[in-house]
Protein backbone atom coordinates (compact mmCIF):
# COMPACT_ATOMS: atom_id res chain seq x y z
CA UNK A 1 0.00 0.00 0.00
CA UNK A 2 1.39 3.42 -0.87
CA UNK A 3 1.14 6.34 1.49
CA UNK A 4 -1.66 8.73 0.47
CA UNK A 5 -0.28 11.92 -1.06
CA UNK A 6 -2.92 14.13 0.57
CA UNK A 7 -1.53 13.41 4.06
CA UNK A 8 1.47 14.69 5.97
CA UNK A 9 3.81 12.39 7.93
CA UNK A 10 6.34 12.32 10.75
CA UNK A 11 9.60 10.40 10.94
CA UNK A 12 8.08 8.59 13.95
CA UNK A 13 5.43 7.03 11.65
CA UNK A 14 2.34 9.10 12.37
CA UNK A 15 0.15 10.36 9.54
CA UNK A 16 -1.56 13.75 9.78
CA UNK A 17 -4.69 14.81 7.89
CA UNK A 18 -5.85 18.41 7.72
CA UNK A 19 -9.61 18.59 8.25
CA UNK A 20 -11.95 21.27 6.90
CA UNK A 21 -12.59 22.66 10.38
CA UNK A 22 -8.94 23.52 10.97
CA UNK A 23 -8.20 20.48 13.16
CA UNK A 24 -5.87 17.65 12.23
CA UNK A 25 -6.47 13.89 12.54
CA UNK A 26 -3.57 11.69 13.60
CA UNK A 27 -3.06 7.97 13.07
CA UNK A 28 -0.20 5.55 12.48
CA UNK A 29 1.08 4.60 9.06
CA UNK A 30 0.74 1.38 7.12
CA UNK A 31 4.43 0.74 7.78
CA UNK A 32 3.98 1.21 11.55
CA UNK A 33 0.96 -1.12 11.81
CA UNK A 34 2.77 -3.71 9.70
CA UNK A 35 5.74 -3.66 12.08
CA UNK A 36 3.56 -3.90 15.18
CA UNK A 37 1.11 -6.55 13.98
CA UNK A 38 -2.36 -7.26 15.40
CA UNK A 39 -3.54 -4.30 17.48
CA UNK A 40 -5.34 -5.10 20.73
CA UNK A 41 -5.37 -1.86 22.75
CA UNK A 42 -5.25 1.90 22.19
CA UNK A 43 -4.78 4.41 25.00
CA UNK A 44 -5.54 7.82 23.54
CA UNK A 45 -4.84 11.19 25.25
CA UNK A 46 -7.56 13.08 27.14
CA UNK A 47 -9.54 15.66 25.22
CA UNK A 48 -8.31 19.14 26.17
CA UNK A 49 -4.75 18.01 26.86
CA UNK A 50 -2.10 20.40 25.57
CA UNK A 51 0.62 18.66 23.64
CA UNK A 52 4.04 19.68 22.46
CA UNK A 53 5.42 18.42 19.16
CA UNK A 54 7.16 15.03 19.60
CA UNK A 55 5.53 14.51 23.01
CA UNK A 56 4.44 10.91 23.78
CA UNK A 57 0.67 11.07 24.02
CA UNK A 58 -0.81 7.72 22.96
CA UNK A 59 0.10 4.10 23.46
CA UNK A 60 -0.87 1.50 20.89
CA UNK A 61 -0.40 -2.12 21.87
CA UNK A 62 -0.31 -5.10 19.56
CA UNK A 63 -0.17 -8.70 20.70
CA UNK A 64 3.59 -8.41 20.35
CA UNK A 65 4.50 -5.01 21.78
CA UNK A 66 3.55 -1.57 23.05
CA UNK A 67 4.51 1.50 21.05
CA UNK A 68 4.28 5.23 21.71
CA UNK A 69 2.55 7.62 19.35
CA UNK A 70 3.87 11.21 19.34
CA UNK A 71 2.14 14.54 18.83
CA UNK A 72 3.14 15.78 15.36
CA UNK A 73 2.92 19.49 16.30
CA UNK A 74 2.09 21.76 19.25
CA UNK A 75 -1.64 21.97 19.96
CA UNK A 76 -4.65 20.80 21.95
CA UNK A 77 -6.45 17.44 21.75
CA UNK A 78 -10.01 18.03 20.49
CA UNK A 79 -11.33 14.47 20.03
CA UNK A 80 -10.41 10.81 20.39
CA UNK A 81 -11.69 7.93 18.28
CA UNK A 82 -13.53 5.83 20.88
CA UNK A 83 -14.45 3.29 18.19
CA UNK A 84 -10.90 1.96 18.56
CA UNK A 85 -11.64 0.95 22.19
CA UNK A 86 -13.64 -2.01 20.95
CA UNK A 87 -12.10 -2.42 17.48
CA UNK A 88 -8.38 -1.62 17.65
CA UNK A 89 -7.91 -3.96 14.66
CA UNK A 90 -9.25 -1.12 12.45
CA UNK A 91 -5.70 0.24 12.63
CA UNK A 92 -4.47 -2.91 10.89
CA UNK A 93 -7.32 -3.08 8.43
CA UNK A 94 -7.47 0.56 7.37
CA UNK A 95 -4.53 2.45 8.86
CA UNK A 96 -5.30 5.67 6.95
CA UNK A 97 -8.97 5.69 7.97
CA UNK A 98 -8.44 4.71 11.61
CA UNK A 99 -7.62 8.08 13.16
CA UNK A 100 -6.64 7.90 16.84
CA UNK A 101 -7.07 11.52 17.98
CA UNK A 102 -7.61 15.02 16.64
CA UNK A 103 -5.77 18.19 17.54
CA UNK A 104 -6.20 21.90 17.02
CA UNK A 105 -2.69 22.96 16.02
CA UNK A 106 -1.26 26.10 17.59
CA UNK A 107 0.23 27.04 14.26
CA UNK A 108 -0.98 25.80 10.85
CA UNK A 109 2.48 26.35 9.40
CA UNK A 110 3.83 23.57 11.67
CA UNK A 111 1.55 21.10 9.86
CA UNK A 112 2.65 22.33 6.43
CA UNK A 113 6.26 21.75 7.47
CA UNK A 114 5.76 18.01 8.16
CA UNK A 115 7.01 15.36 5.73
CA UNK A 116 5.13 14.73 2.50
CA UNK A 117 4.44 11.19 1.28
CA UNK A 118 7.65 11.00 -0.75
CA UNK A 119 9.88 12.25 2.06
CA UNK A 120 8.20 9.83 4.47
CA UNK A 121 8.77 6.92 2.10
CA UNK A 122 12.46 7.85 2.08
CA UNK A 123 12.45 7.54 5.89
CA UNK A 124 10.87 4.08 5.67
CA UNK A 125 13.34 2.98 2.99
CA UNK A 126 16.31 4.20 5.01
CA UNK A 127 15.14 2.18 8.04
CA UNK A 128 15.02 -0.97 5.93
CA UNK A 129 18.75 -0.77 5.21
Amino acid sequence: MSNPSNLKYTASHEWVKSEADGTISIGITEHAQELLGDMVFVEAPAVGRKLKAKEECTVVESVKAAADVYAPVNGVVTAVNSELDSTPEKINEEPYAAWIFKMKPDNAADVAALLDAKAYQAVVDSEAH
Binding site: V40, F41, V63, K64
Partner: protein, 362 residues
Protein backbone atom coordinates in the same frame (compact mmCIF):
# COMPACT_ATOMS: atom_id res chain seq x y z
CA UNK B 1 26.43 -12.15 13.23
CA UNK B 2 24.77 -14.31 10.60
CA UNK B 3 21.47 -15.70 11.77
CA UNK B 4 21.08 -19.46 11.82
CA UNK B 5 18.50 -20.91 9.45
CA UNK B 6 16.31 -23.99 9.69
CA UNK B 7 15.82 -26.21 6.60
CA UNK B 8 12.42 -24.51 6.14
CA UNK B 9 13.73 -20.95 5.88
CA UNK B 10 13.03 -20.64 2.14
CA UNK B 11 9.56 -22.15 2.61
CA UNK B 12 8.69 -19.54 5.26
CA UNK B 13 9.75 -16.71 2.99
CA UNK B 14 7.79 -18.16 0.07
CA UNK B 15 4.71 -18.27 2.33
CA UNK B 16 5.05 -14.57 3.16
CA UNK B 17 6.42 -14.92 6.68
CA UNK B 18 7.68 -11.94 8.60
CA UNK B 19 11.07 -13.16 9.81
CA UNK B 20 12.70 -12.08 13.06
CA UNK B 21 15.89 -12.74 14.98
CA UNK B 22 14.79 -15.26 17.59
CA UNK B 23 17.79 -15.96 19.82
CA UNK B 24 20.13 -16.01 16.85
CA UNK B 25 17.74 -17.91 14.56
CA UNK B 26 15.99 -16.39 11.56
CA UNK B 27 12.43 -17.50 12.34
CA UNK B 28 8.88 -16.68 11.21
CA UNK B 29 6.97 -14.58 13.78
CA UNK B 30 3.80 -14.63 11.69
CA UNK B 31 2.57 -15.09 8.13
CA UNK B 32 -0.16 -12.44 8.38
CA UNK B 33 -2.38 -12.01 11.41
CA UNK B 34 -0.96 -13.58 14.58
CA UNK B 35 -4.44 -13.65 16.13
CA UNK B 36 -5.90 -15.50 13.14
CA UNK B 37 -3.06 -18.02 13.42
CA UNK B 38 -3.82 -18.50 17.11
CA UNK B 39 -7.52 -19.25 16.42
CA UNK B 40 -6.52 -21.50 13.53
CA UNK B 41 -4.70 -23.80 15.96
CA UNK B 42 -7.41 -23.71 18.66
CA UNK B 43 -10.19 -24.41 16.16
CA UNK B 44 -8.64 -26.50 13.36
CA UNK B 45 -4.90 -27.05 13.07
CA UNK B 46 -1.65 -25.42 12.11
CA UNK B 47 2.03 -26.28 11.70
CA UNK B 48 5.08 -24.79 13.36
CA UNK B 49 8.73 -24.99 12.40
CA UNK B 50 10.49 -25.80 15.67
CA UNK B 51 13.67 -27.09 14.05
CA UNK B 52 15.72 -24.70 16.17
CA UNK B 53 15.07 -26.97 19.16
CA UNK B 54 17.77 -29.60 19.69
CA UNK B 55 17.49 -33.36 19.88
CA UNK B 56 20.01 -35.06 22.17
CA UNK B 57 20.35 -38.83 22.33
CA UNK B 58 21.87 -40.63 25.29
CA UNK B 59 22.95 -44.19 24.66
CA UNK B 60 24.59 -46.82 26.79
CA UNK B 61 24.06 -49.16 29.69
CA UNK B 62 23.87 -46.57 32.44
CA UNK B 63 21.47 -44.07 30.88
CA UNK B 64 18.48 -44.52 33.18
CA UNK B 65 20.58 -44.32 36.32
CA UNK B 66 22.28 -41.20 35.00
CA UNK B 67 19.00 -39.46 34.14
CA UNK B 68 17.64 -40.41 37.55
CA UNK B 69 20.41 -38.22 38.97
CA UNK B 70 20.49 -35.53 36.24
CA UNK B 71 16.79 -34.60 36.12
CA UNK B 72 14.40 -33.25 38.77
CA UNK B 73 11.53 -35.41 37.54
CA UNK B 74 11.88 -39.15 37.98
CA UNK B 75 12.58 -41.14 34.81
CA UNK B 76 11.47 -44.25 36.68
CA UNK B 77 7.95 -43.08 35.74
CA UNK B 78 8.94 -44.11 32.20
CA UNK B 79 8.26 -47.83 31.92
CA UNK B 80 6.68 -48.18 28.48
CA UNK B 81 8.93 -47.70 25.44
CA UNK B 82 8.04 -44.42 23.67
CA UNK B 83 6.71 -42.74 26.80
CA UNK B 84 7.80 -39.17 27.46
CA UNK B 85 8.31 -37.09 30.59
CA UNK B 86 8.55 -33.33 31.08
CA UNK B 87 11.32 -32.31 33.46
CA UNK B 88 13.63 -29.54 34.52
CA UNK B 89 17.40 -29.95 34.74
CA UNK B 90 18.79 -28.11 37.76
CA UNK B 91 22.00 -26.61 39.03
CA UNK B 92 23.26 -27.69 42.45
CA UNK B 93 21.62 -24.55 43.90
CA UNK B 94 18.23 -25.55 42.44
CA UNK B 95 18.19 -22.99 39.61
CA UNK B 96 16.75 -24.20 36.32
CA UNK B 97 19.32 -24.88 33.58
CA UNK B 98 16.55 -25.79 31.13
CA UNK B 99 13.21 -27.54 30.82
CA UNK B 100 13.00 -30.48 28.46
CA UNK B 101 11.15 -33.57 27.33
CA UNK B 102 12.81 -36.94 27.75
CA UNK B 103 11.62 -39.98 25.75
CA UNK B 104 12.33 -43.54 26.85
CA UNK B 105 13.01 -45.71 23.80
CA UNK B 106 14.81 -48.65 25.42
CA UNK B 107 17.13 -49.22 28.38
CA UNK B 108 20.11 -48.17 26.26
CA UNK B 109 18.51 -45.20 24.49
CA UNK B 110 16.77 -42.13 25.86
CA UNK B 111 16.06 -39.10 23.66
CA UNK B 112 15.90 -35.57 25.05
CA UNK B 113 14.58 -32.42 23.36
CA UNK B 114 15.94 -29.15 24.75
CA UNK B 115 15.39 -25.47 24.03
CA UNK B 116 17.30 -23.81 21.20
CA UNK B 117 18.85 -20.97 23.19
CA UNK B 118 20.14 -23.26 25.91
CA UNK B 119 21.14 -26.30 23.82
CA UNK B 120 24.91 -25.81 23.84
CA UNK B 121 24.94 -25.02 27.56
CA UNK B 122 22.70 -28.02 28.29
CA UNK B 123 24.87 -30.46 26.36
CA UNK B 124 28.05 -29.17 28.01
CA UNK B 125 26.43 -29.71 31.44
CA UNK B 126 25.20 -33.19 30.50
CA UNK B 127 28.64 -34.19 29.28
CA UNK B 128 30.36 -32.76 32.34
CA UNK B 129 28.06 -34.69 34.66
CA UNK B 130 28.30 -37.87 32.57
CA UNK B 131 32.09 -37.75 32.61
CA UNK B 132 31.98 -38.02 36.41
CA UNK B 133 29.35 -40.73 36.68
CA UNK B 134 29.00 -42.76 33.45
CA UNK B 135 32.01 -42.03 31.24
CA UNK B 136 31.11 -44.90 28.90
CA UNK B 137 27.75 -43.33 27.99
CA UNK B 138 27.44 -41.61 24.60
CA UNK B 139 25.76 -38.20 24.36
CA UNK B 140 25.14 -37.09 20.78
CA UNK B 141 23.06 -34.12 19.65
CA UNK B 142 21.32 -34.04 16.28
CA UNK B 143 21.27 -30.57 14.73
CA UNK B 144 20.59 -32.35 11.42
CA UNK B 145 17.09 -33.25 12.60
CA UNK B 146 14.34 -30.77 11.75
CA UNK B 147 11.18 -30.64 13.85
CA UNK B 148 7.67 -29.77 12.74
CA UNK B 149 4.81 -29.45 15.24
CA UNK B 150 1.29 -29.97 13.88
CA UNK B 151 -1.22 -28.87 16.51
CA UNK B 152 -4.97 -28.48 16.84
CA UNK B 153 -8.10 -30.62 17.08
CA UNK B 154 -7.68 -31.78 13.44
CA UNK B 155 -3.89 -32.08 13.55
CA UNK B 156 -3.59 -35.84 13.83
CA UNK B 157 -6.03 -36.47 10.98
CA UNK B 158 -4.10 -34.04 8.75
CA UNK B 159 -0.80 -35.75 9.50
CA UNK B 160 -2.33 -39.14 8.75
CA UNK B 161 -3.54 -37.72 5.45
CA UNK B 162 -0.15 -36.25 4.58
CA UNK B 163 1.99 -39.17 5.70
CA UNK B 164 0.94 -42.58 4.31
CA UNK B 165 1.36 -45.32 6.89
CA UNK B 166 1.40 -43.00 9.86
CA UNK B 167 -2.20 -43.62 10.92
CA UNK B 168 -1.69 -47.33 11.61
CA UNK B 169 1.41 -46.51 13.62
CA UNK B 170 0.12 -43.57 15.68
CA UNK B 171 -3.64 -43.98 15.97
CA UNK B 172 -3.31 -45.65 19.34
CA UNK B 173 -0.39 -43.56 20.54
CA UNK B 174 -1.37 -42.18 23.94
CA UNK B 175 -0.66 -38.52 24.77
CA UNK B 176 2.93 -37.81 25.73
CA UNK B 177 4.45 -40.76 23.92
CA UNK B 178 6.27 -41.31 20.65
CA UNK B 179 7.07 -43.87 17.99
CA UNK B 180 9.70 -44.16 15.27
CA UNK B 181 8.63 -44.28 11.65
CA UNK B 182 11.63 -44.94 9.43
CA UNK B 183 13.91 -41.94 9.78
CA UNK B 184 11.11 -39.97 11.43
CA UNK B 185 10.12 -39.77 15.07
CA UNK B 186 6.49 -38.94 15.79
CA UNK B 187 5.53 -37.73 19.27
CA UNK B 188 2.06 -36.89 20.55
CA UNK B 189 3.32 -33.82 22.36
CA UNK B 190 3.14 -30.08 21.90
CA UNK B 191 3.30 -26.58 23.31
CA UNK B 192 -0.16 -25.24 22.56
CA UNK B 193 -2.66 -26.98 24.83
CA UNK B 194 -4.11 -28.77 21.80
CA UNK B 195 -3.80 -32.32 20.56
CA UNK B 196 -1.29 -33.03 17.82
CA UNK B 197 2.17 -34.25 16.98
CA UNK B 198 5.72 -33.04 17.12
CA UNK B 199 7.60 -34.74 14.31
CA UNK B 200 11.35 -35.03 14.04
CA UNK B 201 12.52 -35.54 10.48
CA UNK B 202 15.89 -35.42 8.68
CA UNK B 203 16.59 -31.86 7.50
CA UNK B 204 16.73 -32.88 3.85
CA UNK B 205 13.21 -34.35 3.99
CA UNK B 206 11.64 -31.51 5.96
CA UNK B 207 10.77 -29.08 3.11
CA UNK B 208 8.90 -31.81 1.21
CA UNK B 209 6.92 -32.85 4.29
CA UNK B 210 6.10 -29.20 5.08
CA UNK B 211 4.90 -28.68 1.50
CA UNK B 212 2.75 -31.81 1.67
CA UNK B 213 1.12 -30.65 4.89
CA UNK B 214 0.45 -27.26 3.26
CA UNK B 215 -1.17 -29.02 0.28
CA UNK B 216 -3.46 -30.83 2.71
CA UNK B 217 -4.58 -27.45 4.01
CA UNK B 218 -2.43 -27.15 7.14
CA UNK B 219 -1.69 -23.46 7.69
CA UNK B 220 1.76 -22.30 8.85
CA UNK B 221 1.83 -20.67 12.29
CA UNK B 222 4.53 -18.29 13.50
CA UNK B 223 6.32 -18.00 16.81
CA UNK B 224 4.03 -15.12 17.79
CA UNK B 225 0.97 -17.35 18.00
CA UNK B 226 3.09 -20.12 19.50
CA UNK B 227 3.76 -17.81 22.45
CA UNK B 228 0.10 -16.82 23.03
CA UNK B 229 -1.00 -20.47 22.66
CA UNK B 230 1.51 -21.72 25.23
CA UNK B 231 0.69 -18.85 27.60
CA UNK B 232 -3.05 -19.64 27.44
CA UNK B 233 -2.16 -23.30 28.01
CA UNK B 234 -0.19 -22.29 31.11
CA UNK B 235 3.11 -23.65 29.86
CA UNK B 236 6.32 -22.03 31.04
CA UNK B 237 8.79 -20.42 28.68
CA UNK B 238 12.42 -20.85 29.64
CA UNK B 239 14.18 -17.51 30.05
CA UNK B 240 10.94 -15.75 30.97
CA UNK B 241 9.08 -17.80 33.57
CA UNK B 242 12.18 -19.49 34.94
CA UNK B 243 15.94 -19.46 34.51
CA UNK B 244 19.11 -20.29 36.47
CA UNK B 245 18.15 -17.88 39.27
CA UNK B 246 14.71 -19.45 39.85
CA UNK B 247 13.98 -22.86 41.29
CA UNK B 248 11.15 -24.94 39.80
CA UNK B 249 9.05 -24.78 42.99
CA UNK B 250 8.71 -21.01 42.49
CA UNK B 251 7.96 -21.45 38.78
CA UNK B 252 4.79 -23.52 39.01
CA UNK B 253 6.70 -26.72 38.33
CA UNK B 254 6.42 -28.54 41.67
CA UNK B 255 4.40 -31.22 39.83
CA UNK B 256 7.51 -32.03 37.80
CA UNK B 257 9.85 -32.32 40.78
CA UNK B 258 9.99 -35.60 42.61
CA UNK B 259 10.91 -34.86 46.22
CA UNK B 260 9.13 -37.88 47.68
CA UNK B 261 11.32 -40.78 46.59
CA UNK B 262 14.66 -41.66 48.16
CA UNK B 263 16.33 -40.84 44.87
CA UNK B 264 19.02 -38.14 44.94
CA UNK B 265 19.24 -35.71 42.04
CA UNK B 266 21.15 -32.55 41.26
CA UNK B 267 19.51 -29.64 43.05
CA UNK B 268 17.46 -31.77 45.46
CA UNK B 269 19.33 -30.75 48.61
CA UNK B 270 18.94 -27.08 47.72
CA UNK B 271 15.21 -27.46 47.10
CA UNK B 272 14.72 -29.22 50.45
CA UNK B 273 16.80 -26.61 52.28
CA UNK B 274 14.95 -23.63 50.77
CA UNK B 275 11.15 -23.98 50.93
CA UNK B 276 9.54 -21.73 48.32
CA UNK B 277 8.53 -18.20 49.36
CA UNK B 278 6.90 -17.33 46.06
CA UNK B 279 4.73 -19.09 43.53
CA UNK B 280 3.55 -18.69 39.96
CA UNK B 281 -0.09 -17.69 39.49
CA UNK B 282 -2.31 -16.72 36.59
CA UNK B 283 -3.62 -13.17 36.22
CA UNK B 284 -6.53 -11.88 34.18
CA UNK B 285 -6.58 -8.11 33.70
CA UNK B 286 -9.92 -6.54 34.67
CA UNK B 287 -9.16 -3.06 33.29
CA UNK B 288 -8.23 -2.17 29.72
CA UNK B 289 -4.60 -2.67 28.77
CA UNK B 290 -2.05 -5.38 28.13
CA UNK B 291 -0.03 -7.26 30.75
CA UNK B 292 3.64 -7.75 29.82
CA UNK B 293 6.68 -9.43 31.31
CA UNK B 294 8.50 -7.51 34.10
CA UNK B 295 5.50 -5.37 35.11
CA UNK B 296 5.31 -5.06 38.90
CA UNK B 297 2.42 -6.65 40.79
CA UNK B 298 1.13 -5.27 44.11
CA UNK B 299 -0.59 -7.71 46.44
CA UNK B 300 -1.68 -7.51 50.08
CA UNK B 301 1.15 -9.95 50.83
CA UNK B 302 3.89 -7.98 49.09
CA UNK B 303 5.28 -7.36 45.64
CA UNK B 304 5.42 -9.70 42.69
CA UNK B 305 6.33 -9.55 39.03
CA UNK B 306 4.80 -10.66 35.76
CA UNK B 307 6.97 -13.26 34.02
CA UNK B 308 4.93 -13.62 30.81
CA UNK B 309 2.00 -11.51 29.69
CA UNK B 310 0.06 -10.86 26.53
CA UNK B 311 -3.36 -10.50 25.01
CA UNK B 312 -5.28 -13.77 25.00
CA UNK B 313 -7.14 -14.25 21.70
CA UNK B 314 -9.34 -16.98 23.24
CA UNK B 315 -10.37 -15.01 26.35
CA UNK B 316 -10.22 -11.66 24.52
CA UNK B 317 -8.59 -10.27 27.66
CA UNK B 318 -5.05 -9.73 28.75
CA UNK B 319 -3.56 -12.60 30.76
CA UNK B 320 -0.26 -13.24 32.47
CA UNK B 321 1.81 -15.56 34.58
CA UNK B 322 3.19 -13.76 37.63
CA UNK B 323 5.53 -14.71 40.45
CA UNK B 324 4.01 -13.49 43.73
CA UNK B 325 4.33 -14.17 47.49
CA UNK B 326 3.11 -17.69 48.27
CA UNK B 327 0.28 -16.37 50.49
CA UNK B 328 -1.56 -14.94 47.46
CA UNK B 329 -4.64 -17.03 46.66
CA UNK B 330 -6.79 -17.72 43.63
CA UNK B 331 -9.61 -15.15 43.55
CA UNK B 332 -7.50 -12.37 45.13
CA UNK B 333 -7.50 -8.96 43.52
CA UNK B 334 -4.07 -7.51 42.77
CA UNK B 335 -2.81 -4.43 40.99
CA UNK B 336 -0.36 -4.25 38.14
CA UNK B 337 1.74 -1.19 37.44
CA UNK B 338 1.52 -0.25 33.77
CA UNK B 339 3.06 3.07 32.71
CA UNK B 340 2.60 4.72 36.14
CA UNK B 341 -0.99 3.53 36.47
CA UNK B 342 -2.26 0.77 38.73
CA UNK B 343 -4.65 -1.55 36.91
CA UNK B 344 -6.77 -4.26 38.54
CA UNK B 345 -6.18 -7.93 37.88
CA UNK B 346 -7.66 -11.09 39.33
CA UNK B 347 -5.62 -14.10 40.42
CA UNK B 348 -6.82 -17.24 38.63
CA UNK B 349 -5.85 -20.86 38.47
CA UNK B 350 -4.18 -21.49 35.13
CA UNK B 351 -4.19 -22.91 32.41
CA UNK B 352 -6.36 -20.20 30.88
CA UNK B 353 -7.43 -22.08 27.75
CA UNK B 354 -6.94 -25.52 26.27
CA UNK B 355 -8.64 -27.68 23.67
CA UNK B 356 -10.32 -24.71 22.02
CA UNK B 357 -11.95 -23.39 25.19
CA UNK B 358 -11.46 -21.10 28.16
CA UNK B 359 -10.78 -23.26 31.22
CA UNK B 360 -10.08 -20.73 33.96
CA UNK B 361 -12.82 -18.96 35.92
CA UNK B 362 -12.92 -15.28 34.98
Amino acid sequence: MTLKQTPLNAAHRAMGAKMVDFGGWDMPVNYGSQIDEHHQVRNDCGMFDVSHMRVVDMRGAGVRGFLRYLLANNVDKLTMPGKALYSTMLLDNGGVIDDLIVYFLNEEWFRIVVNAGTADKDIAWMKQQAAQHVPEMVIADHPELAMIAVQGPNARAKVWDALPGSKELTENLIPFSAVEMGTMFIARTGYTGEDGFEIMIPAKSAPMFWATLAEKGVKPIGLGARDTLRLEAGMNLYGQDMDETINPLEAGLAWTVDLKSERDFIGKAALLANPPKRKLVGLVLQDRGVLRGHQQVKTTHGAGEITSGSFSPTLEKSIALARVPKEVQVGDSVQVEIRDKLLNAKVVKYPFARNGKTVCSL
